[in-house]
Amino acid sequence: MSDYLEILERSNTGEYITEENWDLEKVVATSRRLVKKYGLQWDRNQVVSDDPSLADAIYQAGYEMAVELGVYCRSTERIIPIKQDEIDAGITNTPQALVMGEGKDARTLYARKLGDERPPLFFGGPPGNPIPQHQLLPNIISYVQEPLIDLATCGTLTEVDGFAVRTGHPMEIVATRLECQIMHAALNKVGRPGMGMLGAQSSVSELGNLAATQPRYLRPCDSHLIPLLNELKIDNRNFSRVVNSLDYGMINASLPCVIVGGLGGGPPGSAVVNVASFLVANVVCRAGYHLLHPIHVRYVSTSTRDVLWVTSIVGQAFARNAPSIIVADIYPKSGTGTKELLYETAANAIVNVVSASHLEGCGSADGSLPNCSGLEARLMAEVALASHRSKMSLREANLWALKLLPLYEHVFTQGAGNPGLPFDQVYDLSSVQPLDFWYEMYVEVKAELQEMGLLL
């Protein structure tokens, strides 16, 4: 702990800089310079690059950025410098295997390699989607009852007993604890009580998170989020989460949601920022694993060409240069009850699994509505395993992405998006089974994928 407290202290002693100047003079300027220095480019028809030198250059640029910039503490408006040997120690010490859960339901997450012969693991759940209280139990069950799902996550509660949940308010404690209790109830219901969880999704400030670090809620074998703020920033709320879990022994999942088209600029600069974010997260988030979740500056979703490119190249960059446990968050634009959701899920699954990531999903409908169900998580796992079994190459994965993108890209420019239907209109809440029309849609898309050559 004391070495971490030393880093924490730097947030009080580091160089003062306004946040705007950090953004423009540090992050933007460094990203632009490194993209130019390394000649980084992306090609919209090479969603999955098979050029190892590009992945290595992205990694090297991200490494330089991490060493050069460190991380910004928003609470104190100071730069926390991170020494090169600390970045290197973070890479050396990052877990290569990590047990989540307990007993027969425990799973071992591992740092994947390109072409890894071991199958990827799957977190099932809609991370952060707001779910009505009466639907949360069946919604979680819909994911964790799926045999291919290894680990659990869930949506968030926005109301408890009719009272609005507010961040930083006592209701956050109530909601976060209730969410964890409902997760355990769901795992018990499906006979998988030891399944590892990524929980406390209803906690945004440190309040709910701290209140949930008890075995009744989150066990030491579970994990919780330590977000990095956009870009390369942290604050005292998140430091509080880290010091609490370091003492408690719970697993930290770093979550830098790099904005593609944000401060990093286009896809190459955003990929560089994402690499730098994971490297500093080893140090300031004490991450056991990293969630790969870049989002599009206008369309949010991870399914766009440029965001898929970023997820693939960042996964490859780490697999080749600094093997780490990386879990790609799948956030489709479309919601349940639409075929586009299933195409988006398939594209994300293929691109990320061949690029050495595990998967989490799906935050359907941009994670902003309760329009999500376990059925798309089933497809996510099936498609990923089919890609894995067939030893799909990066080049083949690119061809798959190019086949799938035209089937759903129109949703990004639809004014209202493509939200589909809420969970209770696509699943029977009593039996927790998909309604016929939704199941038939899944069967149709699966048949289409098989016809296209996927060995499902």
Binding site: L24, R166, A175, S205, D235, I259, G262, V297
Partner: protein, 218 residues
């Protein structure tokens, strides 16, 4: 001919996000006797409109937008004294002031930053209060700066109720009619914006600028 070149250089400086060139060429344009209104409309605003279009089309990203805002702000400091009395009364100056913030407990700022940059680039006097801003601070700053518009952002569904709280506070203080209150964020819908009594929401930054323009006209 020289006038046209200077105007084009001002536009280019905004497009390039270069505050030094923007201020330098604005100085030169004033010294050359170019009408300040022409510098504003054909130089600076033309540049900012083009920046907005390029961002919406995906050609420009957030850095270009933020840097253009910086260039525009720097040039306006040079131009403002010459514009005084030419286009705006004190009252209409006030109508151009916007206070924007990510509401208390929420720390997400990219969407808010984009809207702030687009509003700045569109010529509004934007005070960006940052993230996790307490309701009282927002109200105090809006009153101090004589703002006409309060723009609130929240990504988190569990921070959105604080937007409603701010509107309620304005109502109980008898200040609701003084401000146009806009709300935005990934989970904010038109229905929700209406239900909490705001004056509207927009799907993206360009629509937010249009909405502000329309509401200030009405």
């Amino acid at each position: 001919m020289i006038e046209n070149e200077l105007i084009a250089q001002i536009t280019r400086a905004v497009l390039d996000g270069d505050p030094e060139v923007a201020t330098d060429t604005t100085h030169k344009a004033l010294e050359a006797g170019i009408d300040p209104l022409r510098i504003l409309n054909e130089g600076l605003m033309a540049g900012s409109d083009e920046v907005g279009k390029r961002f919406e089309s995906g050609e420009y990203f957030l850095p270009e937008l933020m840097l253009a805002g910086r260039a525009l702000k720097a040039a306006m400091e040079i131009l403002n004294p010459s514009l005084a009395g030419k286009i705006q009364t004190a009252e209409s100056q006030g109508s151009l002031r916007v206070v924007i913030a990510t509401i208390q407990t929420d720390i997400h700022d990219i969407g808010k930053n984009i809207v702030a940059s687009m509003l700045t680039a569109a010529g509004y006097d934007v005070t960006d209060l940052g993230v996790d801003v307490p309701l009282k601070t927002i109200l105090d700053k809006a009153a101090e700066g004589g703002a006409r518009v309060i723009a609130l952002s929240a990504l988190l569904t569990t921070s959105m109720p604080y937007m409603k709280d701010l509107i309620n506070l304005l109502e109980v203080r008898g200040l609701r009619q003084k401000y146009i209150v806009l709300v935005g964020g990934a989970s904010v819908t038109e229905g929700w914006a209406r239900d909490i009594g705001s004056d509207g929401t927009a799907r993206n930054a360009a629509q937010a600028v249009t909405l502000v323009r329309e509401l200030l006209k009405s």
